[in-house]
Chain length 181, copies 2
Amino acid sequence: MAALVPFSLLRNYSPFMLARPFIVKGCNLNFSKSVLPLPCRRLPFSARATHDEQAAAKAAAATADSGAPTIFDKIINKEIPSSIVYEDEKVLAFRDINPQAPVHVLVIPKVRDGLTELAKAEARHGEILGQLLYAARIVAEKEGILDGFRVVLNSGPSACQSVYHLHLHVLGGRQMNWPPG
Amino acid sequence: MAALVPFSLLRNYSPFMLARPFIVKGCNLNFSKSVLPLPCRRLPFSARATHDEQAAAKAAAATADSGAPTIFDKIINKEIPSSIVYEDEKVLAFRDINPQAPVHVLVIPKVRDGLTELAKAEARHGEILGQLLYAARIVAEKEGILDGFRVVLNSGPSACQSVYHLHLHVLGGRQMNWPPG
């Protein structure tokens, strides 16, 4: 079963990482010092996040078409705790445990129904796709970011998709940059 | 009417910019030289794009709730030429003239119907929202990037929305980074 759980998610749910969410590998940070050494003050945080996500995405892609359950199934079934922001009959929205903005929520269909990724969508999925996008708007309202938020959907490894259960990212609470990754 | 056309789009559609799509303001580029000076080789292209988009987004937000036509109406009505990738009864998809990836296509509803931005979506918009996301998948297939693509939807100025007619960005053809802007 462990092989089915993407590395990034295992990392995300590690108590070690939860206790030290801002650690940057390869950079000997010591936050008790008042002044960080220059190379650490100019942290390549985005680059590090990018490479972690790219590696996770490549690993996840290897089992993308297996139809195997993902970590989202455990979240839907409440086997793994999550911070739920919104839920209805078809959709679940919960906080990303590795947030890239002050607000970062994932919106997923409760039943995957073949939607491992957007690339696998068929015309019959139109209804749930619309419900997911509308749920993203509900999440933005609940989180108080209706005045500015970005929705991102990654399909495939080159887009950094790391869980093969279609999901939208809802990000806000800061100025988003362009290009979008 | 000019006041209703976002700055970024005017810039995008300027024949001057079309002739020199990769010019970077503030950096005296001369592509006839075989070796660029170091400060220009390390171009702050992303930062420049970000600031342009942020400025354009702020300017566009000023008339967001006016209900006035946008440049997309001119594209839908074929008053402004565009490179159309996909079209059906409800949806139009055309290339972004300021692409942020080898493939960068915008997907819009042909009738705005109050959808200036996702923040304005109501439950009744679910159907068109689903059609737009499914059209993004069709675009990815037509563009040969079904193995990896990112869909981005910006709502509001802090997300860099620069045209107040809801639209999805479909990006691919390169490794996308994380975070997504």
